[in-house]
Symmetry: D3
Subunit: 242 residues, 6 copies
């Protein structure tokens, strides 16, 4: 099976990071990995939840969701179903954990930032696009706080690393980078790799539901993921410089 869009196995889809896509949030980025399109917003509120008051520490959390027709067939709204599904919660938790790895909550001071990642259109890799875009939105929100002199520490100390994520997988025995939906459902192994700009790992999640995987396959996927993340880090830097 060739890649549906003709890419090389180690090639990312076109990536765009559009800052200030919406007017209200302190940080707001429309991230696109090919046809996958996620709106990432960072909302700042002064103060922290009650249980954290007086700790001197800030709070960063994330919520992920999909519009009902982001996918090929319409999904029922979780608000209408009255509960947040397991997949949604799992991804929200992953995004929150990943982004907390790049921020010094003490330097942030008693401020709260909520990262909302809403998938407007899905074509595989929504969670990795969300993490990659949320980093830029978070950066803008921290800059906004810095301009208001509301940070406890120096801006550079608050965000001491960048964070990126990409999916990798094995299709027909071949390791591939940044899977589209058609590849995702065909993958024997599927892995999400979250890295720092320095090439260290923040989170690694590999799953072989249909098939199991060997150590050498795992190694090849990790290599590919690290390469992809490095490219994404460059794209983030470029977006933040503009």
């Amino acid at each position: 099976m060739a890649r549906p869009d003709g890419r090389e196995s180690g090639q990312l889809r076109p990536v765009t990071l559009t800052r200030r896509w919406s007017i209200h949030p302190e940080g707001s980025v429309l991230v696109e990995f090919g046809d996958t399109r996620v709106l990432c917003t960072a909302s700042v509120t002064e103060g922290v939840p009650r249980w954290r008051k007086g700790s001197g520490l800030g709070w960063v959390t994330a919520e992920y969701a999909m519009l009902p027709r982001a996918t090929n067939t319409r999904g029922d709204r979780e608000s209408v179903k009255g509960k947040v599904g397991g997949r949604t919660q799992e991804i929200s938790r992953l995004i929150g954990r990943s982004l907390r790895a790049c921020i010094d909550l003490k330097a942030l001071g008693e401020n709260s930032i909520v990262l909302d990642c809403d998938v407007l259109q899905a074509d595989g890799g929504t969670r990795t696009a969300a993490i990659t875009g949320a980093y830029v939105a978070l950066h803008d929100a921290v800059t906004w706080l810095a301009e208001r002199k509301s940070l406890a520490g120096k801006p550079a100390a608050v965000m001491h690393r960048s964070i990126q994520a990409v999916s990798v997988g094995v299709i027909d025995g071949e390791p591939r980078l940044d899977l589209m939906y058609l590849e995702d459902v065909a993958a024997e192994v599927d892995m999400n790799v979250v890295c720092t700009g320095d090439g260290d790992f923040v989170e690694v999640q590999g799953t072989g539901e249909a098939n199991v995987f060997r150590r050498d396959q795992l190694d090849a996927l990790l290599d590919l993921g690290v390469l992809g993340c490095a490219e994404l880090a460059a794209a983030q830097q470029k977006a933040l410089a503009s």
Copy 2:
């Protein structure tokens, strides 16, 4: 109080209707009334809900929602709260009723169409923008069904009218068309007018929470609403012709 964006009292904000904004839905329109931005999608499924089977009638329904940071301060997600709020349900019902007024369910045949109106950015008039955009998305979805020869009647019979909506209100005693958020909160009377392309009414909802209103004010608002809807009908036609 002058209008924040310098408009005449009877002037609409710039209106754009971007068709095929997303790739998956059978109809998909990004509608903008100034800074208000709503993604309207129409999702077709063959067949109708169980209780309607064998009736020969189709089914059209609508769901409205806001992204958490569509507004100036972040709102909690209804999925996380575990229930759909009163305002959301009220607007979803209004959109569904309004759009059902333009469609002949017998000519549609036993097909179901769900209209999802997700507010990506809010600056007043989100429900009227949603109705105006949803009409175009619905039109595209019916065309899609026509191309597949899946309609029970002729395409023209299915959608026998167009539907538009606009808000009107009285600010400082002056009737104004298409209120922005700043005007909406300052309005003494607030009215939503849903019309057909022929200038008839589908729905009229006028509220004077802070103040009551006289018959002559009501008349002036209805006049303004009808004018605004006629302009929106032209914009819809132009979008559908492109």
Copy 3:
């Protein structure tokens, strides 16, 4: 189609307003519009919700509900379904908005009043009967507060207007006042008109789901609604005088 109970098109059903129907509430009125029977109670609590404390303003809110067998076929309880339906929420919000239009929350002072409108028997017009009865219950609750010297302003300043509501509709092309259930389901256009005792409008909601309506029909319905409300205002005054 003649009116099922032989009324003239501009005639109300027999209206009764029975004050002090129950012993516990500060205000309690059983309102009947023909066979429609709604128990309206006004419950006073000192103080206001947390977010309103220290504002000097009072708070009035409303909740509407139907007993499961108020209607011809039994409806499932919303408590058992675990959520309040869209229709219920919409009507609760309408009643609350309507009654807040007659009360000066500053003169009320930091007191809260909840208006519960429970439909014991339904035959069309339950929301308009509820608004008409709730006004009387609210009046009694304010008098109760006045007797305890718990108002911030003078009693007359607290309730500076009366509020009434009635349904109107077009059946077979004829505008009719105060629709029974059989008329309600047959109506081409259905409108609820909420007025003040001075004949001004508080809320106007007109819907033409099956059919659209022209401006002259709208005008005729508004005329009829204003007349009906004037009669209801007289009935309220008589009940409050007894």
Copy 4:
């Protein structure tokens, strides 16, 4: 502590059973035990729940609820809270079990009857009033089915016993019949006794939260309960004869 209304310790409050209180249900009774006022309706539907189809057996179930201001202080609606409370469920189950003891589900045939007991005003003994009233509503519903020739057995076989219930309790060491609210909260022991018209027991529930109770107290309370139920059975018979 003398009884607040001057009754003898073995005396019931005035009991009224008003049949056909509402127009829609197949059976409908307003039952009053003094100031306690419960609307009991019996709703018939042909057929039984899916899991019971083809069994030849009918189904009888009950739901109990309180209007928010049935009591001295307003209680939040269970529909708004999104769940049915433990007390409500417990009483609903008790009413259902009690009434199923008087009906032959085989003779009823595959019909379903829902008994709704809504407390309009509460002054102690709401569950016992509900059971006593629901029996009469159920009787009327069965008669309604008999008139339509919809029963599997003979009417007399369907309802082979009558059912009544009353509360008893010990206050200041004295056993008393049919407790008012003021007595209920002061009782050392509180018991609900459900009997058949023949004086047998259907259900006995005795609780001594604040205090424990001795066998001789239990015996005295049972004696009192049986006497009270016999009087209630006579009241039911009289109501059904009218």
Copy 5:
């Protein structure tokens, strides 16, 4: 029908009370009545719920639940269903009321104890085993508080009685003690008796869903229940002495 395990009609199943079954709780008892196996834990927290602060009184409450496969066929989890069922709530309330009858909340001081009774395996009598085991777990938790000098009164004053419970029922006309599941479903009358170690009653609940019962049967069941509770009280004492 002979007893499935060959017991005499007045004989309990083998009873074991294993203290300190788990390492974390302040009190923890695995209670077994034959094959019925319930884990009872008592969890202490300093302080009381907000509405009780400053009262000087402690708080004891209970929650009962079943593992999904404690029974012969798997039951859906109440967490997944999103609500606690009527039976579960009823039993939780019974356990809480019963145990509060043995504890002096003033002597307990402002401490809270939650009794969790989780049925690991069910064979009838789960609620009575739970009450019997919870008493021992509560005793251990009070001792734990005494060792920390955290009680307001003397330890002996805090728990001034013991509490036991047992089920009794009539099968084929014969009164039997401590019903197994097979007997429970076959019983014409089913009663749960909660006693103190002094032989007084705390709660008596008798139900005759399929059949009604006479006073002499009730008397025989109460006699049997009191005897069974006395045996259980001895087993509790032995366990606490070990």
Copy 6:
């Protein structure tokens, strides 16, 4: 920091797998990893969910939960909170995915097996103990089906691999196997490794919330995980042979 229980860094805690711990389920195993104690049951039902009927494929799913006092401080019940938390759902999904990797759903035929993993006592590694125990319970359930000749394929074909899981983590820079709770909260990196008896991977989840991790650390943890799983596979085999 030395290991709290004095183990070597590459040493598992004592592992026990007690089959047939409860009498009702088709498979039932109490698994203990040191003080972590999980009851794993496998419940068989004939047939599959509606959407899978006629596919010839079976269905295996899992649900994980914790008793409220399995941990050091009591957690509120998810049934009482009315929703299943994110962590619970995430682990339930992980267990289900892991166990589906060892079963041939075609050979299983149209049978459903639910794996319930209830944590009776927690001391770290509850999800890995659950997976390890659930494999044995699932094996017993498949044998039960084989004895009833209810499998579509040969028993050996149904379960073609064994599945084990263990946690690994880095504490003070040292990679350790099978973390206790005290180690879990102190870990810089935390990873769960799910393997087959052949040493292949089914799932790998590594998280470095407080810290990031390098490739060489990841490699060392994977090595350790594979070794631990091999030991667990031997324990499973021994348990199944007994």
